[in-house]
């Protein structure tokens, strides 16, 4: 009854549920399943965590690591351990002081297999953590670390709210998360939105941040135009024009370390031959694939253009259908209307992508059309995230995948390209690349690392394990009422403390 009477009353009295002056409302496709840094599985959760929790270090405006909860740190000369001194006077949202015990607890809880944390991999390199006193933490590493502070971005949790190192999803922390960030979670609302209010004493310019679940992408840009929202994390390419023309909206471009690719399954008979892979690289018109979905930089290797590891000497494979035909013939294929393999059967390729990847549909349809009009049959498969995990990651049941990789500041491509890499579902194996990646991982000289990874770029480009596509220009959209906005390319809210409404 309440649910009917209340809207009735509200409507009758003409009260508007508008936001108060200092509130920033932003939209997410899906509300966080759980607000808990140990069990994060989606970007919307990561962004909410960015507002509520803090790590020992975070990015400064030049995207270099700077101390956050830490005040100062010292890495031992042998690079096998470090000592961190925490900032003075930091308190949790419930008033308790933040101490070194919390840091030790967090690391141990993340690593504990009993907790089944999704972040366990983030602390695998730490051998042990010790609280030397209330403000000092000592960490020892399993191997020499060149820049350990770059890996200490994970969020710190309050030890006093847990028993020992046991952390469960179903614990009370789920309904009342406590962090040390500038905002604290005030309520999980009925409509799946989350209200976060500024902590007293904080000098953040936003009094309140509200996360709203707007599951229909058609509404997101519209709601911003109608001033029902103040921020959009990612603008769909088709909405760019409308938002650009609106004077009350400002677009903020940001370059994420993520790039699209068409990955080949290295063990499939058709794609085993390097000539075939090369032929496909020449056959696909990458610029034409990019055109309908937005703007960006076409790549030749596994790094973004602005990355120090990008090898600008590697040339782009030109779109050359004749060369492609030559290569296919050299590989034993014949053309009579359609390309036929050595066994006489039509060359058919199954291309899989995740169905909720924005604009992937357009790219895949376009790709299919390109290849089919040149005689190669393409079967597109739009998989749900669950099917993707099963078919692509576990069963390797695909010919080609259309997807993207996103990297944090470290741009560590080991997992994707090393033959032992956990994310190398393409089955790429190159002893030379393995060697280069191993060396780069252990190198403590930034110049050496740069040189090694540029060699990796060249080697990978020559092997054609995938067609490198592009980095897509991304834009965030904000109401012009929000001032001093700088958007973090991955976590979005890292510098939200400076924003003002």
């Amino acid at each position: 009854m309440k649910r009917v009477l209340l809207p009735l009353l509200v409507g009758a009295l003409g009260l508007a549920a508008t936001a108060s002056a200092g509130t920033l409302r932003y939209a997410e496709d899906r509300a966080p399943g759980i607000v808990h840094p140990l069990f994060t599985t989606s970007m919307s959760e990561a962004r909410a965590n960015e507002l509520l929790f803090e790590g020992l270090f975070s990015d400064d405006l030049q995207l270099r690591s700077a101390p956050r909860l830490a005040e100062s740190y010292e890495v031992a000369p042998d690079r096998l351990s470090m000592t961190i001194t925490l900032r003075n006077g930091v308190t949790w949202h419930d008033g308790q002081p933040l101490t070194a015990d919390d840091v030790v607890f967090t690391i141990e809880a993340m690593a504990s297999p009993r907790n089944a944390s999704t972040e366990a991999g983030r602390v695998g390199w730490i051998a042990s953590a010790q609280a030397l006193d209330t403000r000092t933490v000592s960490l020892t590493f399993r191997a020499a670390e060149a820049a350990p502070q770059d890996k200490l971005y994970f969020k710190i949790l309050p030890a006093h709210l847990f028993e020992g190192t046991k952390v469960e999803r179903s614990g009370s922390f789920r309904t009342r998360p406590v962090g040390s960030g500038a905002w604290r979670l005030t309520s999980f609302n009925d409509d799946a939105s989350i209200t976060m209010s500024k902590v007293e004493g904080s000098d953040a310019g936003l009094d309140e941040v509200v996360l709203r679940e707007v599951s229909d992408k058609n509404y997101q840009a519209k709601l911003l135009l109608y001033e029902s929202l103040e921020a959009l994390v990612r603008v769909l390419p088709r909405d760019l024009a409308t938002l650009q023309n609106d004077r009350k909206v400002e677009l903020y471009p940001y370059q994420t370390n993520s790039w699209w690719y068409l990955g080949f399954h290295q063990d499939k008979p058709a794609l085993k031959k390097p000539e075939v892979r090369q032929a496909l690289t020449h056959m696909v018109d990458v610029d034409q694939l990019l055109a309908p979905i937005g703007t960006g930089d076409v790549l030749t290797g596994p790094f973004v253009r602005s990355s120090p590891f990008y090898n600008h000497d590697v040339p782009r494979a030109p779109h050359d259908p004749d060369k492609a035909a030559e290569l296919l013939t050299a590989a034993g294929y014949t053309f009579n209307g359609r390309w036929l393999g050595p066994d006489g059967k039509e060359l058919t390729l199954r291309v899989a992508t995740v169905s909720n990847l924005e604009t992937a549909q357009d790219v895949l349809i376009n790709l299919q059309s390109q290849l089919q009009s040149r005689g190669i049959t393409v079967t597109p498969e739009f998989l749900t995230p669950a099917e993707w995990k099963q078919k692509v990651w576990r069963e390797h049941d695909f010919d080609i995948v259309l997807s993207q990789w996103s990297f944090d500041r470290n741009e560590d491509i080991y997992e994707q390209f090393h033959s032992q890499g956990a994310r190398n579902f393409l089955g790429y194996r190159s002893p030379e690349v393995d060697r280069l990646l191993d060396e780069a991982r252990t190198s403590s000289d930034p110049q050496e690392k740069k040189a090694l990874l540029r060699q990796v770029h060249a080697a990978v480009a020559a092997d054609h394990p995938m067609i490198f596509l592009w980095t897509l220009d991304s834009y965030a959209a904000m109401s012009t009422k929000v001032k001093r906005v700088v958007v973090h390319p991955f976590y979005f809210f890292t510098w939200a403390g400076d924003w003002a409404l």
Partner: protein, 278 residues
């Protein structure tokens, strides 16, 4: 045999109305288009032409093109396959309810109770929810869609047939035929099932078809289910151009949906007026 079939078919017509005839004609047209359109050789999967993107109506593209340059009219026609397939499969599955219901109605007793129970169990899960459930569990293919929709309609059809047959079981002409020594099997199939239930069954089949059309387009809107690109379906066509303005690319599939559903309603009225057996 032929005379009997002719008699049964003629009995289908309850209300002779223009709208009813038009409705049936439209549905038949859809089936014909679904069968013949693929023969025109439109290159599904190789039809992207960015130079023709988002065109309006013209001689070359009677209903314009979408934002990847694909012709709307051709895809609209080809889309008929998307639901005639599952629709017919669903109809076939639903038809299994007819002999089940008829047997239950004929014999009564525990057979009738069992049928009623099973029908009640399946019917307690709302149809759309059941379809969603089956699609998430068993994968998103037109076959599963057809089977799921058919299953969702089996209880209703079985119950209706059972009620009708039960009502006629003790009718005079049945008793009389029995007295004359006509064997029960032939009696059941020729007179009761086909003669008395043809209107009922036809009406339900049309409803199954309408439901398929609605479910297919709704799944395309909700996203992630239904016919996947590049195969066209009216839902797909709508959703692909959703949010890019109100041109023929959006209006045509919407209109096609509305006309088809109206045709189903008119045809259902044409076939049989009454909902319950009595």
């Amino acid at each position: 045999m032929i005379r009997w079939a002719h008699h049964a078919l003629r009995g289908l017509r309850a209300h002779d109305s223009l709208l009813g005839r038009l409705g049936l004609a439209w549905l038949l047209l859809l089936v014909v288009v679904a069968l013949c359109a693929p023969l025109a050789g439109y290159p599904v999967g190789a039809d992207v032409d960015l130079s023709q993107a988002s065109q309006g109506m013209s001689g070359r593209h009677p209903l314009g093109t979408d934002h990847l340059g694909r012709d709307t009219f051709a895809r609209l026609a080809l889309a008929c396959r998307a639901f005639t397939g599952p629709g017919l499969l669903a109809g076939l599955v639903a038809l299994t309810a007819v002999p089940t219901g008829a047997l239950a109605g004929m014999h009564g007793g525990w057979v009738a109770h069992l049928t009623r129970y099973v029908a009640g169990v399946v019917a307690s899960v709302p149809r759309f929810v059941l379809v969603l459930l089956l699609l998430t569990i068993y994968g998103n293919t037109p076959t599963v869609l057809g089977l799921a929709i058919g299953l969702a309609y089996v209880p209703e059809l079985a119950e209706a047939v059972r009620a009708r047959v039960e009502g006629l079981r003790v009718a005079d002409f049945v008793l009389a035929s029995r007295a004359h020594g006509v064997p029960e099997g032939r009696l059941l199939w020729l007179h009761l099932v086909l003669g008395a239930t043809n209107q009922l069954v036809a009406r339900h089949l049309i409803r199954v078809f309408a439901f398929t059309v609605v479910v297919e387009s709704t799944l395309a809107y909700l996203g992630g289910f239904g016919v996947q690109e590049p195969q066209p379906s009216w839902g797909n066509l709508l959703v692909f151009e959703w949010g890019r303005g109100l041109g023929p690319q959006v209006i045509a599939p919407a209109a096609a949906l509305l006309i088809t559903l109206a045709a189903c309603a008119a045809a259902a009225g044409f076939v049989g007026g009454r909902r319950h057996a009595g």
